[in-house]
């Protein structure tokens, strides 16, 4: 059965998945145990199309040199590629290059909000709001800043019955807040938070909004300027790009309020023994040798996505697969699926546990069948606590996965439960 054809359940798959898969060499991998790889760990990191790998390789083979630092041909080419990538990537995210700061990761981007904006603008007693649903990247920087500056940190709880944010509690929590930091999509539950509502609520009380879109960006086109958030953190590696690079999108008014975070070379106009005059705008935040190969790889990734992926179709396709998997898994004795992956707006993530097979064991047993899933607390321990568990197994689907893989996964999981519980 071709993945491009209607599946056995009468589901029409609009994407030409077979063609898409041909761009990802790793998806042809046979594991050491002889099993073909089935990669369901996309929320941890996505695989890369060949054009990304080739673009980075070509950079090192043909025009590698340090950008922004010399007048020779290679340095000019490298600088042009780095800045060309900024222009292209920022347009992909619906904004302009002057509102995009390269970072090492989405985590570093959120630290940049904490230490480049909040540290300069918040005083003792000011309020930062985050939620129980967040990745540690959107909790720990605020805890640390709270210790340093005496800011008040408030947590919006989750509605444990519906596995969503408790928006009524959020209405209360944001009163008097200066900054609201919220995840676009939960990396554990796959729930897409009502970010437009959060932005409106936060702005109505005069608070700035920082979105952690590490999990959102791979599944929907972000139009930063239209969205209206003040900050938005993104990781390239979760959306077909390389590891080691991400960005912080920043509204220009917020950028004007920021001060230096990591300091050193490249970000200065002049340095004397007594003081430093920093560059303006995004250039103030990119110290050290730029992430050139990574930016070039990310540029290739967004070009590839633009050319090959309709995000709406991809979302529907991923949802067909993940909602089917969740429904089937709920029927396997002893399996609990957390959250509501079947909801239309959910994004391809299925967190689950078996009531007698320990999560690490289940991860190994799935791996023995060739299935790559994540096991652990997913860097979201406050959420785990709210859910009353220490860890989960997590299968996460992206557009290159197939219904055949989903069927094989459910069959293997059923087999594991029959043999090991």
């Amino acid at each position: 059965m071709s993945p491009t054809c209607p599946s056995a359940r009468g589901v029409t798959m609009a994407l030409d998945v077979e063609e898409i898969r041909s761009h990802f060499p790793i998806l042809q991998r046979i594991l050491p145990n002889g099993k073909p790889l089935v990669y369901f760990d996309n929320a941890a990191t996505s695989q890369k199309p060949l054009v990304v790998i080739d673009a980075m390789s070509d950079f090192y083979k043909q025009y590698h040199a340090n950008a922004h630092r010399a007048n020779h041909t290679l340095a000019d080419e490298s600088t042009a590629a780095l800045e060309g990538a900024r222009d292209r990537i920022s347009r992909f995210f619906g904004t302009s290059e002057d509102q995009m700061i390269y970072t090492g990761s989405a985590t570093e981007a959120m630290n940049l909000v904490a230490y480049g904006w909040a540290r300069y603008n918040l005083e003792e007693g000011d309020v930062v709001v985050t939620t129980e649903m967040e990745h540690h990247a959107n909790i720990v920087p605020w805890q640390e800043l709270s210790k340093e500056k005496g800011i008040e940190l408030r947590y919006v709880p989750i509605d444990v019955e519906n596995f969503t944010l408790d928006y009524d509690a959020m209405e209360v929590a944001i009163q008097g807040a200066s900054l609201v930091c919220v995840g676009h999509v939960s990396n554990v539950l796959g729930v897409r938070n009502e970010i437009e509502r959060v932005i409106e609520m936060a702005h109505s009380v005069g608070a700035r909004v920082a979105l952690d879109s590490a999990q959102g960006a791979p599944h929907e086109r972000i139009r930063f300027d239209e969205l209206g958030a003040d900050f938005c953190s993104i990781a390239a590696h979760k959306m077909a790009g390389p590891t080691g690079i991400g960005c912080l999108l920043v509204k220009s008014e917020a950028l004007d309020e920021m001060g230096p975070f990591l300091t050193g070379g490249s970000i200065v106009k002049r340095v004397s023994k007594e003081d430093t005059l920093f560059q303006d705008g995004y250039a103030m935040f990119e110290t050290g040798t730029p992430r050139m190969a990574e930016a070039i790889g990310w540029h290739a990734a967004v070009d590839w996505l633009e050319e090959n992926i309709d995000f709406r179709e991809a979302h529907d396709y991923v949802h067909e697969i993940s909602s089917w998997m969740a429904t089937q898994m709920r029927n396997i004795p002893g399996i609990t699926v957390f959250g509501n992956p079947e909801k239309e707006e959910a994004i391809g993530v299925i967190s689950f546990l078996h009531d007698t097979i320990q999560a690490q064991d289940l991860g190994y047993l799935l791996d023995a069948g060739g299935f790559a899933v994540r096991t652990g607390h997913h860097c979201a321990q406050p959420l785990m606590e709210a859910m009353g568990v220490g860890s989960t197994n997590r299968a996460s689907v992206w557009f290159y996965n197939t219904m055949e893989e989903a069927e094989a996964f459910v069959a293997h999981l059923t087999n594991i439960v029959e043999r090991f519980s």
Partner: protein
């Protein structure tokens, strides 16, 4: 091939059983079986920070002692059955041995059992930490 000259008859038999498995799933099934019949399982109420094995992805604890005859004894407990199974086989290999011999213990049977592929570096790290702790305890009991 691993050096099997130091393996006891029981370990040779265990290695044979694992070698006759059809695939990794069967090997893991057998490992779960050994977890169930750990010869010196450590009850959960004795798990504490002091006897915890660090570096395991799951919780694991070992307590070492000498029996009346001066032979080494390791009690082990883990929340993951795969780890518990590895502990059980290690206990079979070392229990009753003189501590001097346990201090030099080489878990080469893991390779013989065909588990080295299942024990990827991050998983093997936890297992090797457990073996290291057993060997250190054996040295201190000499």
């Amino acid at each position: 091939m691993p050096d099997d000259s130091e393996w006891s008859e029981e370990i040779v038999e265990i290695v044979d059983r694992f070698q006759s498995c059809f695939d990794d799933m069967e090997r893991l099934e057998l490992l779960f079986e050994y977890a169930e019949k750990h010869p010196s399982s450590l009850p959960m109420d004795m798990w504490n920070d002091e006897n915890m094995v660090h570096g395991c992805q799951s919780r694991a604890h070992v307590v070492c002692s000498l029996n009346d005859g001066g032979g080494f004894m390791v009690e082990g407990g883990a929340d993951a059955q795969i780890v518990q199974g590895l502990m059980a086989i290690t206990a079979i290999a070392v229990n009753g041995q003189p501590p001097e011999k346990v201090a030099e213990h080489d878990p080469s049977y893991i390779e013989g059992m065909g588990l080295s592929r299942i024990l990827t570096p991050s998983r093997a790290n936890g297992f090797m930490n457990m073996v290291r702790k057993v060997k250190q305890e054996a040295s201190s009991l000499m």
